[in-house]
């Protein structure tokens, strides 16, 4: 059985004439350790798909099974526990707590795990060792996003969901962040799903999915995966 199995997931908003279906029966699966890119133009439903997989919003139909657990059948409290135990989130905006240092921001999520990753090792591998005592306002956007990734990773999640993680960053910094995510995928073996509208990022993934108007129009294995550092756009 695949690590992540999504079967005929549907999601709509509004009622009556105003009802719009954003996800129209999407089915796919990912194996443990996959690095998947979810592509699509604005409004195609990729963030909604990510939110459903992350248990942030319920779907109207279909099933989402993560590591053998059907999360569509869970109560709100159980979904919360699922996120606590299994998931890491990285968002476009870093949402760091301004009055906590880098180290403390990461500790915030280490606190949620019974078996967190060693903090010092993580800080070093994130390249944040020298910045560990700085506050977010004292760091660049790239460093803040590293910190946000560290915060998501420290729980040692089985599934890392990233929504436009480089959306607010310049090219060079984006490459650094993508490289980091690549290393994380390789070193920690967690499954990564990256939502992006940047086609270039797909080249570093082993799985490529593309949504268009709520329909999964591409779901392929990338045989020609390249290192993040070689990406250009």
């Amino acid at each position: 059985m695949a690590f992540l199995e999504v079967t005929d997931v549907r999601k709509g908003y509004g009622e009556g004439d105003a009802h719009i279906e954003v996800i129209k029966g999407v089915s796919t699966s990912l194996e443990k350790g996959d690095f998947a890119s979810l592509l699509g133009p604005s409004g195609s439903g990729k963030s909604t798909f990510l939110n459903i997989v992350g248990g942030l919003e319920p779907c109207d139909g279909g099933r989402v099974v993560v590591d053998g657990v059907d999360i569509t059948g869970l109560s709100d409290r159980e979904v919360g526990e699922y996120r606590r135990a299994e998931l890491g989130f990285v968002l476009q905006f870093y949402n760091l707590i301004p009055d906590l240092t880098v180290r403390e921001n990461i500790e915030v999520c280490a606190h949620l795990s019974e078996d967190p990753l060693p903090l010092d090792d993580l800080l070093r591998s994130l390249g944040l060792w020298d910045q560990r005592r700085k506050f977010p306002r004292q760091m660049s956007g790239g460093q803040q996003q590293r910190c946000a990734i560290g915060r998501a990773l420290v729980k040692n999640p089985k599934l890392l969901l990233c929504d436009e993680p480089t959306g607010a960053l310049d090219y060079q910094t984006s490459l650094e962040i993508l490289t980091l995510m690549e290393e994380v995928n390789r070193e920690y073996g967690c499954t990564v799903v990256v939502v992006t509208h940047n086609d270039a990022i797909a080249r570093m993934s082993n799985r490529i999915m593309r949504l268009h108007d709520g329909i999964l129009v591409e779901d392929s294995v990338n045989e020609e995966r390249v290192p993040a550092l070689s990406l250009e756009w």
Binding site: N51, G54, L56, E57, G80, E81, R83, R84, A85, L87, G88, F89, L91, F93, N95, L96, I97, D99, L100, E104, E107, V108, C109, A110, H111, L112, R151, A152, K155, A168
Partner: protein, 821 residues
């Protein structure tokens, strides 16, 4: 492992030091005041409660017109009580060297009620010095001495004789210096008690008042048993021709019970005030937390998405209010118990003559000032936070946590100028802050108006009482005294008095001719007559203008469960020159407007009056009202009065007179003059002056802290918009006009809009608080005081606005240029 979020707490405390210091200060100061007050008051309550045993306080007393016959005392003692003489002499006391700068101190004479030293009942406690040891020594009341800077070693003149003050004392039966238990207020300014040796007591040339105190052999009588006992004592005295002129148990004696009632009543008011303030402060915390949650919405969304539970976030946002609340409660209690108990104690000790103060630990005070504030703070915050954090993680991530966007989206009429619409939107977006601000301003205004109106209310009450004074003198007599007498009648009465009051030994020592002359003169007095002839001469003019009346003390039930109201029932002459506005008619009663208002009486209805000394009740039809809103009397034609009470035709026990009358002091119970009303004002001003200052100070602190905290939240929320305005080219003054003026309008509108609420609430509060006391307090809130209240509010706000102008000037342009997450 504790949550790393906890590390935010000290940083937030430092980062928002002003905000949290303000809240901490307000809560701790309030708790300090209230705990100081409550611990002082509860300790005083205990001291008062222990007085019956510690000082062998009387259970009641009776006063007779003359020394009670032995058989009367024996009859009373057979009822299971011990009786002790507490005879007194009332004399004028003067002294030199009075200093001080208030009005009260300018008086250098007073009335002293002198007692012989006591060793059985109502024992004195000495604050300074010791009991008098020689005939020229006297001990005086502590509060009176404090008012007049009299100290041990000073000399006073009592009834013309010099006495040295040997001690400063208090008597348990005069914990409040009521000259007469029927007075509305005590009088520690021109009245005092004194203790002298038996020889010193005898040396004072003043008439004796024959008061006896009794103590029941069985301790702990309840109110009903005490009343039954009182009734039995009255019967025993009457049956044995003791002629009691007054009779009351300790609970009915204002000089004994007033202080205890006052202490008890005030505590509730302070507790309610604390609870209200804590609830308002809790709402301030909710507003501040709400503002933080809005600002940190995306962070909260991320934390929730990462698996944080809502209760963990509630606990996190709760930590600061709880911490500040606990620290404030601890600090407040420490200051209250260590420092503020003293001024609070003095609020009472400056007015009441109580034994030396001793502080007692009281669990209820601890509960009210520590547990209740913290629990209230936590509960209100818990509810507020749970409401604020009920959004989904996605809503937090999308910053859709409030309905503000909907309010922001309200269509406003385009014909309104831009600035008006802009300000309206600021108001709509910050509605919770402004609502909390309104409540806070209303509360502080209530305190302020209460403080500012204390003296006008007292002045008005005294004015009312003065306006109800129909004559310059109202003499109340112990027995009917005819002043329209000729010389021979005066001589006859004087002879009769001398014969009856001179001890047998002295009579025997008189010469036979003198005795025969006395007997001959006295024989002209009719022994069966209820009326005695005045032994002093008055001018024909004085006699002609004086008018006889009769008065009796009755009671009527107050509405609700508020006990009985004292009513003075007057029997007045038909066509009275003094009570010209009282239109009495046969078969009906005219009641004072105050009595009618307080007890819900109306013309055409009936009033039921009862005699507290007997079980008789009288139901009378009301034909009219008269006097001021403080008039608690009832009026009948004197003939009807005498029929009603079974008096002889022509009975009277008072004179109304605009000219002073010379009446044998033996028969005068009291002389009520308009000056007595001035004493009331002086006494109440003295008692309430410090309270007014406290309330005004507390209200000003609340104004400043609440206005600052809540309006700063509005500006903090608008920081980005303010920054945009600056980028667009708005001048600082224009930005201020948009933001500060919106806040100014809201603050001023709150100050004005809460006025009717305050006036209504205060009227109800005063009526409720004073319902259990005798008299009818009319709430008078002069427009000038309301204007003053608004001005104080505005002055406090100006200080706050000045800080905001600085704050707005310092909002950096960079906020607008940063990407909005």
């Amino acid at each position: 492992m504790s949550s790393p979020l906890i590390r935010r707490i000290p940083r937030q405390l430092v980062h928002n030091a002003g905000r949290y210091l303000g809240i901490f200060a307000l809560i701790s100061v309030s708790i300090a005041f209230v705990s100081g007050f409550l611990v002082a008051a509860s300790s005083i309550e205990r001291i008062v409660a222990d007085m019956p045993e510690d000082y062998r306080m009387q259970d009641g007393q009776f006063t007779c017109a003359f020394e009670a016959p032995d058989e009367a005392i024996e009859a009373v003692e057979e009822l299971g009580v011990s009786v002790e003489e507490e005879f007194s002499r009332e004399a004028e006391m003067t002294w030199e060297g009075a200093s001080g700068d208030d009005a009260a101190d300018s008086a250098d004479s007073a009335t002293v009620r002198l007692f012989k030293e006591r060793d059985t009942f109502d024992l004195a406690s000495y604050a300074e010095g010791e009991a008098p040891d020689s005939p020229d020594e006297v001990a005086l009341d502590r509060v009176f001495c404090a008012h007049h800077d009299l100290a041990v070693g000073d000399t006073v003149q009592i009834g013309g004789s010099a006495f040295e003050i040997s001690g400063i004392c208090t008597l348990p039966d005069y914990s409040s210096l009521f000259e007469d238990p029927s007075d509305f207020v005590f009088n520690s300014i021109t009245f005092t008690i004194g203790m002298a040796t038996p020889e010193g007591f005898a040396s004072v040339d003043a008439p004796l008042t024959y008061t006896y105190a009794y103590r029941a052999d069985e301790a702990g009588l309840d109110r009903a048993e005490a009343a039954d006992l009182l009734e039995d004592i009255a019967t025993a005295l009457h049956e044995n021709r003791a002629m009691p002129t007054s009779l009351m148990d300790a609970a009915s004696n204002s000089a004994i019970s007033y202080a205890a009632d006052d202490v008890e009543g005030d505590q509730l008011m302070w507790e309610v005030m604390l609870v209200l303030l804590i609830v308002i402060m809790a709402f301030v915390f909710v507003v501040l937390a709400g503002s933080s949650i809005e600002a940190e919405s995306a962070i909260i969304g991320t934390l929730l998405a990462s698996g944080y539970r809502k209760r963990e976030l509630v606990a996190h946002y709760m930590a600061l209010p709880a911490l500040v609340g606990i620290l404030a409660a601890v600090a407040g209690n420490l200051v209250g118990y260590q420092v503020l108990y003293a001024p609070m104690r003095d609020l009472y000790y400056n007015s009441y003559s109580l034994p030396p103060f001793e502080m007692f630990w009281n669990w209820r005070v601890f509960f009210m000032c520590t547990v209740v504030p913290v629990v209230l703070l936590v509960l209100v915050n818990l509810v507020g936070l749970m409401r604020k954090l009920r959004c989904t993680p996605l809503e937090f991530l999308r910053r859709e946590t409030t309905k503000r966007s909907r309010r922001r989206g309200v269509a406003l009429p385009e014909r309104l100028p831009f600035t008006a619409r802009f300000r309206l939107r600021i108001l709509l977006c910050n509605l919770p802050s402004f609502l909390t601000l309104f409540c806070g301003i209303a509360f502080a205004s209530l305190l302020l108006v209460f403080g500012l109106c204390m003296m006008p209310v007292v002045d008005h009450y005294a004015e009312n009482l003065k306006s109800d004074m129909v004559a310059e003198h109202q003499y109340i007599l112990k027995t009917p005294v005819e002043i329209d007498v000729d010389e021979s009648e005066r001589v006859a009465q004087a002879a009769a008095e001398k014969l009856s009051m001179t001890p047998p030994g002295e009579l025997e020592a008189m010469g036979a001719s003198e005795l025969i002359q006395l007997a001959a003169d006295a024989s002209r007095v009719d022994p069966d007559s209820d009326v005695v002839w005045n032994t002093l001469a008055n001018s024909d003019e004085a006699v002609a203008q004086a008018e006889k009346f009769a008065v009796a003390s009755l009671e009527t039930a107050r509405p609700g469960d508020f006990g009985m109201e004292d009513v003075s029932m007057y029997g007045i002459q038909q066509g009275s020159a003094y009570w010209s506005d009282v239109d009495t008619a046969e078969g009906s009663v005219v009641v004072g407007r105050g009595l009618a208002e307080k007890c819900g009486l109306s013309i055409g209805g009936n009033v039921e009056l009862s005699d507290p000394l007997s079980d008789k009740t009288y139901e009378l039809r009301i034909s009219g009202t008269c006097g001021s809103a403080s008039n608690m009397n009832a009026y009948l034609p004197i003939a009807e009065f005498n029929r009603l009470f079974g008096n002889a035709d022509g009975y009277f026990n008072g004179y109304a007179s605009d000219m002073p009358l010379a009446i044998d002091a033996l028969y005068v119970m009291s002389d009520l003059t308009p000056d007595a009303m001035d004493k009331i004002v002086a006494q109440l001003s003295d008692s309430m002056g410090s309270m007014t200052g406290l309330l005004v100070a507390l209200a000003a602190i609340i104004y400043v802290v609440l206005m600052y905290l809540l309006t700063k939240t509005v500006i903090d929320r608008s920081a980005r918009s303010i920054s945009y305005m600056k980028v667009f080219g708005y001048r600082p003054r224009e930005v201020n006009r948009l933001y500060i003026r919106s806040i100014t309008i809201t603050v001023v509108a709150s100050l004005l809009l809460c006025l009717p609420v305050i006036v209504l609430f205060l009227t109800w509060l005063v009526k409720f608080v004073f319902m259990g006391y005798n008299g009818n307090f009319e709430v008078v809130i002069p427009a000038s005081q309301l204007v003053l209240e608004v001005c104080v509010g505005i002055v406090c706000y100006v200080a706050v606005a000045f800080l905001h102008v600085r704050h707005i000037r310092n909002v950096p342009l960079s906020i607008a240029l940063k990407a909005q997450e």
